[in-house]
């Protein structure tokens, strides 16, 4: 049973490590899902405006309480422009990277004591311009990518690490900022500069993918660019963050593939969290281990939210547990909780550094 943090006592976000090396803003960080599994050390990938991806590894945890990090590899010579997004496959063996050069690269993680931590397996072409996000589904069989060309592409992994495009999804009317798969279903969500969130599912006969629902005004929706999305551990709730300075939490219990109803759609708005962020919220991540929501913002802060324990109404509400000012010297572009350790949080910023934090709360 995952340990739930977020009691009522004083909360702290302690600075543990700073990972330096990138020479331009860091756009994203991704924990290798195999971190701390079967004795494996924690591993992090980061992608940057300096056109490289870096792989960082924490040394063995046996001797020290907070062992140091080293940069194990710099993946360059693959992308000719900013690397905007990176995502590990569920088994931690493949890393997908999306770039402003309109391509997606797939790297295979070669573990062990070898120098070469990753080899470039394949370059995926298809988008017309900047790729903004890449995402693996939970079984590792599908990869989604999205772009400023307003489309979302779904790729199927073939034997030999080849990729075949199975669908090109049109619908967004502007730049698509992020794609993300549901944790237990092959349901895809996308966030866009057009202020909407779209929910995509496969047709019953498996012939093609379609947009099942658009979370937007009129009705509940953001009033400016939606930057990121994140599901809770079970996938029955999803949180979105936006340039409109709000977070919205959605009920994603109903399987969109099963939706036949008219009017509205399978997912419903649960609550809006506002009044805490001063500038654009670039990143949001819902921890799979401790139930907390972390945000990174253009006001240089990291904030953490928890479900409100004092809320007695039937609806859901959240309260801010902590605000870390000047978390970075510049915009915070990405926040990501560790896949196993409920205390650890990684963040990436315009200042070109990655920071590892430890969350603690008195009970």
């Amino acid at each position: 049973m995952a340990k739930k943090l977020g009691g009522n006592g004083a909360a702290r976000l302690g600075f543990l490590h700073q990972l330096e090396g990138h020479t331009d803003r860091v756009w994203g960080v991704a924990w290798n899902p195999a971190s701390r599994s079967g004795g494996a050390p924690s591993m992090l990938a980061s992608c940057s405006g300096d056109k490289t991806v870096r792989i960082w590894e924490q040394q063995s945890t046996v001797s020290s309480s907070s062992p140091s990090w080293t940069c194990q590899a710099v993946l360059d010579e693959s992308h000719s422009r900013t690397v905007r997004a990176c995502d590990w496959s569920p088994n931690g063996k493949l890393l997908a990277t999306g770039s402003f050069d309109a391509t997606t690269s797939i790297w295979e993680h070669v573990g062990g004591e070898f120098d070469c931590i990753a080899t470039l397996e394949v370059k995926i072409h298809g988008h017309e311009n900047e790729v903004k996000s890449v995402a693996w589904n939970t079984s590792g069989t599908l990869l989604a990518t999205c772009s400023r060309d307003k489309t979302v592409w779904i790729w199927e992994l073939q034997p030999g690490n080849d990729f075949e495009c199975v669908s090109v999804l049109n619908g967004h009317t502007q730049d698509v900022k992020m794609v993300l798969w549901h944790p237990s279903r092959d349901v895809l969500v996308s966030a866009s500069y057009d202020n909407t969130i779209k929910v995509w599912a496969e047709d019953r006969d498996g012939d093609d993918w379609r947009c099942v629902q658009t979370l937007a005004e009129p009705g509940w929706g953001h009033t400016s660019t939606v930057w990121q999305l994140s599901f809770n551990m079970s996938g029955d709730q999803m949180v979105s963050c936006s340039d409109d300075l709000q977070l919205m939490v959605w009920d994603s219990t109903v399987d969109p593939s099963e939706w036949t109803g008219n009017g509205g759609g399978p997912w419903k708005h649960l609550c809006t969290i506002s009044g805490h962020h001063e500038r654009t919220i670039f990143s949001v991540h819902w921890s799979r281990t401790n139930g907390l929501i972390a945000t990174g913002s253009a006001d240089d802060c990291i904030r953490i939210f928890a479900e409100d324990p004092t809320n007695v109404a039937s609806s859901v509400s959240f309260c801010k547990v902590l605000e870390k000012q000047k978390a970075h010297e510049g915009d915070v572009n990405s926040v990501r909780w560790h896949p196993k350790d409920p205390r650890l949080l990684a963040s990436a910023g315009d200042d070109g550094v990655i920071k590892i934090w430890e969350f603690e709360q008195d009970l």
Partner: protein
């Protein structure tokens, strides 16, 4: 190729006399001067209008009063007034201002640029486009 100017006959204003800054006294040498609206105005006043051989200052598109600076919070807000209400150059002007300030101000500054209220027929859309560029431009690399 003939192209129509958005505003063929702009009103040109006199350039304000430049005020001379008093040098700080010797024992203030190590102190960093906080950035104020005059300094920000100095960075943008001479930007040339896209359509005419005049500066944004001469056309009254920007003025020192239209700039608000909070040095402690590293925040700059500039509102500018396009010369005509339907000015489709608004986005371009905003971008020029942003680029100039990004090159001139320390990286800690957050910059907000808007059209002044009532000065543009599609104010909401214009401000949205300016914001779109703010999402793009600082975070896009150029080759």
């Amino acid at each position: 190729m003939a192209s129509q100017l958005i505003n063929a006959n702009p009103v040109v204003h006199e350039r304000k006399a430049r005020s001379v800054r008093q040098p700080t006294s010797a024992h203030d040498d190590l102190a960093v001067e906080p950035i104020d609206s005059l300094e920000v105005f100095d960075h943008v006043r001479d930007i040339k209008d896209p359509e005419h051989p005049y500066t944004l200052e001469q056309l009254n598109v920007v003025s020192e009063d239209s700039i608000a600076v909070d040095d402690k919070r590293s925040h700059v807000l500039i509102t500018f007034t396009p010369t005509v209400e339907h000015c489709s150059m608004a986005t371009l002007i905003g971008l020029c201002i942003r680029v100039k300030l990004m090159q001139s101000l320390p990286p800690r500054f957050k910059i907000d640029i808007k059209v002044s209220p009532g000065s543009h027929a599609s104010e909401v859309a214009a401000n949205r486009d300016l914001l779109q560029l703010s999402n793009y431009h600082p975070k896009i690399d150029h080759e």
